[in-house]
């Protein structure tokens, strides 16, 4: 019997794969109109922002489209003109009537653009908000630094929303306000006394558009265990060494949106999350609800969205050394400045 055994020894194989920024040479392209328009049920002032797109490699800001005529029409034939407050920003005072449908009409640079009529979604709500312990993988050096991946333990926030025949689609945004203490020594009555400063700092939502809809293969319209934000046990990434964390005020902006808007956001999420997919998925071109009626071949970007809105606030205090965490709803919706520090006494919105 003959035996053949093969041994392979690798001398070196370290970090063989790599990711680099790619700056291709692209053909020059014409700028096109971009519409960022949102009507929100409950608000009386609504904005329509018109800008121009630019070439992918083109530096500078997005040029506002001034001098356009912008109208909001409803399906009863009423029409309100939006006033240009500053270049490219048009405002309209309008009380949204839930039973009506609305569309956008724009006259700009000799072309006419219209959206489809969009219905008004019902005001959304949450059934339950809860958290579960979770280990999130992160890239500490940022997404361009691929030398290290790290596990970050903490809690993932989830929500459940009851089934509803009328409202199925949602978009979430958020503001996270971290509360912290700063201990300092001061002279009082001839002696040194340890005192406290109360501080806070705001952070936007992580990730891209957070949208929720019925489960693709689900038997009902309920939304179960939809992930929102992640809160780590270790808050040192948000604080300096003198600051001690005192919990998060988590402000959730919940929008009820139409299916068309949900599909549009889903396309956008596909674009923004198509990172490093192993099998290189084909691109997704986002399909909006606005067309140029005078030149159907003319491209127009952006979307016209009619939505409803509800805000929720929660206090989230995690303790990785004990099996006790505070997850509590906040019913007082104080205005909270972006950041600040107050000596001796906590601010009016402070949550214990």
């Amino acid at each position: 019997m003959k035996t053949v055994i093969k041994y392979l020894i690798i001398i070196l194989f370290l970090n063989s794969a790599c990711e680099t920024v790619y700056n291709p040479e692209l053909d020059p392209v014409d700028k096109v109109l971009v519409v960022d328009a949102q009507l929100t049920l409950g608000n009386s002032l609504h904005k329509v922002i018109l800008r121009k797109s630019k070439g992918f490699n083109e530096p500078g800001n997005y040029q506002p489209v001034a001098g356009a005529q912008v109208f909001i029409q409803d399906d009863s034939g009423e029409e309100i003109i939006a006033m240009e407050q500053e270049a490219g920003e048009y405002s309209v005072h309008l009380e949204i009537i839930p039973s009506r449908r609305y569309r956008l009409l724009i006259y700009s640079e000799g072309e006419t653009y219209t959206s489809e009529f969009e219905p008004v979604p019902e005001v959304p709500d949450l059934d339950t908000l809860y958290t579960r312990e979770f280990v999130k993988w992160t890239q500490p050096g940022g997404e361009t630094n691929t030398s290290e991946f790290r596990k970050e333990p903490g809690h993932q926030v989830y929500i459940d929303i009851a089934g509803n025949d009328h409202q199925k689609y949602y978009r979430f945004s958020a503001r996270r306000v971290i509360q912290f203490y700063v201990f300092f020594d001061t002279v009082m009555f001839g002696g040194i006394v340890r005192e406290i400063k109360y501080g806070w700092e705001s952070f936007g939502p992580s990730g891209t558009y957070n949208i929720a809809g019925p489960s693709e293969y689900g038997s009902d319209n309920r939304i179960i265990q939809h992930p929102l934000e992640f809160f780590p046990y270790d808050e040192s990434a948000y604080l300096d060494s003198t600051q001690k964390a005192a919990g998060w005020i988590y402000i959730i902006h919940q929008y009820g949106i139409n299916k068309q808007a949900w599909l549009y956001y889903r396309d956008l999420v596909s674009q923004l999350n198509a990172e490093g997919k192993i099998f290189d998925p084909l691109y997704v071109q986002a399909q909006n609800n606005i067309t140029c009626t005078t030149d159907p071949n003319k491209l127009v970007l952006g979307n016209f969205e009619v939505c409803s809105y509800r805000e929720h606030r929660y206090l989230i205090k995690l303790n990785d050394h004990q099996d006790y965490h505070t997850i509590r709803e906040i019913h007082d919706f104080h205005d909270i400045p972006g950041s600040g520090v107050i000596n001796f006494y906590p601010p009016y919105f402070w949550e214990q």
Partner: protein, 905 residues
Amino acid sequence: MHLKFKSIPTVFLLLLLLAASYSASAQKQDSIILNETFRDKPLTDFLDTLQFKYGLRVFYKPEWVKNHVVDRTLKNAPLIQALNNLLIESGLTFQYFQDDGLIIYPESTGNENRLFEAAQLLIIGNPLNKGKFKTAVLSGKVTDGQSGDPLAGAVIYPSGNYKGTTTNRDGLFSIELPPGDHKLRFSFMGFESADWNIRLIESGYEEFELYEESHAIDEVTVVGKETNLPRSQMSMVQMTSAEIKRLPSLMGETDIFKSLTMLTGVQTVSELSSGFNIRGGNTDQNLILVEGSPVFNSSHLFGFLSLINPDVVQDVRLFKGGLPARHGERVASVMEVDFKDGNTEQVQVSGGVGIINSRLAMEGPLDKKKKFTFVAGGRSSYANWILKKVPELNLARSVTHFYDASGKLTWRFDQHNRISITGYNSNDEFSTSAQSVTRYGNLLGNAQVNHRLAEQLHGELDLAHSEYAYELTDYANNNPQESYSLSNFLSYSSAGYNLRWHPHPRHKTGAGFKAVSYLTEPGKITPLEVSTRINAKVLDAEKAVEWAAFLEEEFELSQSFSISAGMRYSSFTRYGNELVYLYDESQPIHPDNVVDSIRFKNEAIKSYGGFEPRFSARYDAGTNTILKFGYQRVRQHIFQLSNNAIASPAETWKIADYHLKPLISDQIAAGIENESLLSGGMVSAEIYYKKLQNLIEYKNGAKLIMNENIETALIPSDGYSYGMEISIRKDAGRLTGYAGYTWSRTMRRTNSRFEQENIRNGSYYPSVYDKPHDLSLNATYNISRRWRFTASFVYISGRPVTLPEMSYRYQDEILIWYSERNKYRMPPYHRADVSLTFDENLRRKRMWKGSWTLSVYNLYGRQNPYSIYYRKTIPGVENNYRRYSLYKLSVIGIPVPSITYNFKF
């Protein structure tokens, strides 16, 4: 019985005396016919056999024979032929004396020319029969002199104006020649050619051994010719075992698919892509037949390795055009992978321990008569560490594993009749971020019966079965109520019978039929938990039958001109219980535009059929120049649905239906080969044009999974490819190598009746596989018999890609608008690899043999692009302070050195 001589001159004196009596008394020796097998046996065993079994008195001095072995099968071999053929390699000669005596002695050093000539002369037949026959058939076997494995596709050319032949899959050949002296040249790619002087007296059998040019360890052989192919066969790629072995491997792993991509017209997207692309074709347009059973996913580890375990493979043939009429079903190529039959002499175990997988194989006889043989092998992986090195979060958290097992049993009744049964099973599993697990696997089974119906009439029965199963388990962010598994399944069963008739040396005929049954389960959703919100759902199974019949003829109209013409008719019928939707013809096909439906109940739903003509011609223009021409039409009834630019294991297979028509390809090609332009080598060139009808293209954001109306996601399209392939091969001398260059284009066009559905306004645009320039260079310099240096270089144009051309701001995010489909190209792919090998000891008797190979993959650390994508990032200098950037991912971006030690004993 040993002679005790005091001196060599004494020996010769005696021999002369004995020889004088030879002609008068040599009677018993002439009547002895040997039927014996000796495998690595001492020469003394052979001589003892003559003495004790055949009653000869044999005389020799022990030290003359002690270092010589016999490794030969003797079938009906006259004694004189056996002695001639066995002793010429050992420096010995012989003489008869009296009527039963035989004396063995060293050849004289004083008459080198005569002895050299004698050493090259093989006598076939009994000299007493000289002049009795007008024709004789020399049958034989060509083997690898080192391993003893048969060489399939070895070429045997007789001198003079006689037609040559090639060996079949068992290394066997037969050639009809007039009795007399002939000079035969035996050649096989990667092996040193050998010339043998034959004295053909009557029909007989003989074995011939060829040796690799560098005496490398045997690996898989990719060959270009086989006996059953017409002389006019073209568009076949070929690469020898030695060349495959010499290619610097990826992390020490030799892979047949990766090696094939060095050849003209064969490409792959990257190191990490499944399958391969032939002349711009999609991966699903390749029919990969493992022992006759088709494979529906040919890759392990996302494409790092092919499913073929080289340990059990005998040979591989790849037709990228010029398809014989017996083949069809896929329009781009057919790859035939044949397993070994198993060693007939002894049980052998082989294996390997690699850095990403280990493998073990065993082969040998199962009975004492050595007619029943087996081969079995398996592989298992441990590749997770590689994924950890990929700088992409999901990949770095992935877990992957695969195994495969294959086996074959062969029963040889005789040289022409045999039965073989083959089985293959593979399973892959990978998971990312613990949120999902993907599993897929192939199961193949095959039974082949080869038999000879008459002298020149052979039949082959082939029964094949193949299954492919895919399952994705989604844990829905650890939400048991929404966790589910999504699966699909494909089953293929076929039965075929082929006849080969060779009525005249210049005329061959082939005919046969094949029937195929398809069954697909295109989608099934199953909740993972009892308490669930997931609706279990199963899409209707799809069933179809396909049958084909063919007839092909090959004529050699003259010494210089031969043609092969074939006709294949294929018929396809989709049947079963199905609800087919009909759409408003004035509107694009969309679920909203359904106007009617038809319920079919176990009946034919749609049938397609058509002829597939095949034609090829070969003209020998003289001065070693061959001109070739070929045309083929192929119809394909099964397709892969893919939303990815790079084929993934998650693709689903779809069979033609009421709306989806079969893919039809017409290819025309012309080629030229010349063996005199380059000393010791061959220059060849081919041009081709391929037209494709009924291709699949996808609408923007098409939903391909669990889609009951898949036709609503597709756009009808067509396309074409054309190109020129030039290759230069040098097989002789210290410097050997291969250079191939391909210039080609592959275009697609959607042709929907509705303008809004068409991509790029319905004009032609480059396919994702359109890579105009493809250059491959491979050179081996044999520094000495044991040292050799190999270098290779590849350059391939970047593949077309759709890039963001505009950016815009919407709700505080920077978004993008993509260019027209495939408007831009990735940067070109190029790579150089080198290796230095110290080969094993050449002495055949040495038990322990080892070789070292030091290789460097991607020598200059080219960061070749694998994919380009757009994602959020941290603003910085490198991305002009953007919040989003385009990124390029390279899978193997640095030089990867490896050192390999092979040994056997």
